[in-house]
């Protein structure tokens, strides 16, 4: 790909040292223009992936990583786009395949895509209050009401934190013991260090 042409056309774009493919840090306000430019001028015609990122200690904390593939030149390019106030512009009008990817990034990280045609959750149910792939969310989950109120009324079930998160599960009591298998790594309970 023509790195120089891209950085000259979008001066705020920074060429990062990617180990496996050409990588750019891009300004999220220019993201849609860059993706459109790469598609129309440099032949990156296939959206390979779009995912949300939680960089935890960085500011901004959240961002979007996009992988584009040129089916003509058989070449990948990766774009890092940090969020501004947890938002980035949508690219689903340029690559329609980004539609569900962006919904997943919203569902899992809470990143809002400005201009998205259908900004709903895609995996969790609509009333779920958290974004589970954020680093500060425990894998076992947080107790919330069951999705259907009438089913919850009959069964008394809630969405509860899962027990024994973080397998593998090993039996501590020897061969054929009656003890319930325990997870080796019990750092999830925040009382023991990560093993």
């Amino acid at each position: 790909m023509d790195v120089l042409a891209l950085t000259q056309k979008f001066p705020q774009t920074q060429n990062l040292a990617g180990q496996d493919m050409t990588t750019f840090a891009v300004n999220s306000s220019e993201l849609a223009d860059i993706v459109k430019y790469l598609r129309d001028e440099q032949g990156f015609d296939l959206l390979a992936d779009l995912c949300g990122m939680d960089w935890k200690d960085r500011t901004p904390q959240f961002g979007v990583v996009i992988h584009l593939l040129s089916t003509k030149n058989r070449e990948y390019v990766r774009l890092h786009a940090p969020c501004v106030d947890d938002t980035v512009p949508t690219i689903s009008d340029i690559h329609p395949g980004a539609n569900w990817h962006e919904r997943e990034a919203y569902d899992m990280f809470g990143i809002k895509f400005i201009g998205h045609p259908d900004p709903r959750r895609i995996l969790m149910w609509e009333a779920y209050p958290y974004h589970p792939l954020r680093k500060d969310f425990p894998l076992a989950g947080i107790e919330v009401p069951f999705p259907a109120a009438d089913v919850a009324a009959v069964t008394g079930q809630t969405v509860e934190p899962a027990p024994m998160m973080g397998g593998p599960f090993v039996s501590s009591g020897g061969l054929m013991s009656g003890a319930e298998p325990q997870a080796l790594d019990q750092s999830w309970n925040e009382e023991k260090p990560k093993s």
Partner: protein
């Protein structure tokens, strides 16, 4: 058939068989289980294998898989039940006509299995009463057949009541609209 279900000696009774109504009804029910394949994950592949010619679930009288809950009387929950899907599983269970049974096939349906996470219901017995649990990840078709034969045995010993135990207490089966 359990030997004590009816007394029959052709030299004494001729062509008459004396038995109890419960025993006959249970015998008929146990040999005509119409399963509803609630296939949610990889266990469903083993469930399909059990229906194929090699393992042939029809040898035991339960090959009539119905994809409508209104025509089925045994829901085989085969796979991971997420919280989002749990609501659907319960509604499908409620649409099945009595008498009805539930088989939790595999580790995920029985206990959540390896999915100790925010998204997975930790056992389908949290939302529907389960009659038979089958271990395995996934269970082999033989294990499913063994579980279904256990279910037949359970059906033969039923007393005709619609009451069943759910979370340690006896309940009437309530209908969710």
């Amino acid at each position: 058939m359990v030997k004590s279900d009816f007394g029959y000696n052709s030299k004494i009774e001729g062509e008459v068989i004396v038995t109890r109504a419960d025993a006959v009804v249970n015998w008929v029910r146990s040999h005509s289980v119409w399963p509803m394949p609630m296939g949610l994950a990889c266990c469903a592949i083993e469930l399909m294998a059990a229906g194929g010619s090699r393992f042939d679930i029809s040898r035991f009288g339960m090959e009539v898989m119905r994809f409508s809950p209104r025509q089925a009387d045994c829901m085989i929950v085969s796979g991971t039940v997420t919280y989002k899907m749990a609501e659907v599983v319960r509604r499908i269970y409620d649409q099945m006509a009595e008498p009805k049974w539930v088989v939790a096939m595999g580790a995920c349906a029985s206990s959540g299995g390896m999915y100790r996470s925010y998204a997975t219901l930790q056992g389908v017995d949290n939302i529907v009463p389960v009659d038979i649990y089958i271990s395995g990840c996934p269970p082999r078709p033989e294990a499913l057949l063994d579980g279904m034969m256990l279910l037949q045995e359970k059906i033969r010993q039923e007393g005709g009541s619609l009451k069943r135990t759910f979370r340690g207490r006896t309940v009437d089966t309530k209908i969710v609209s």
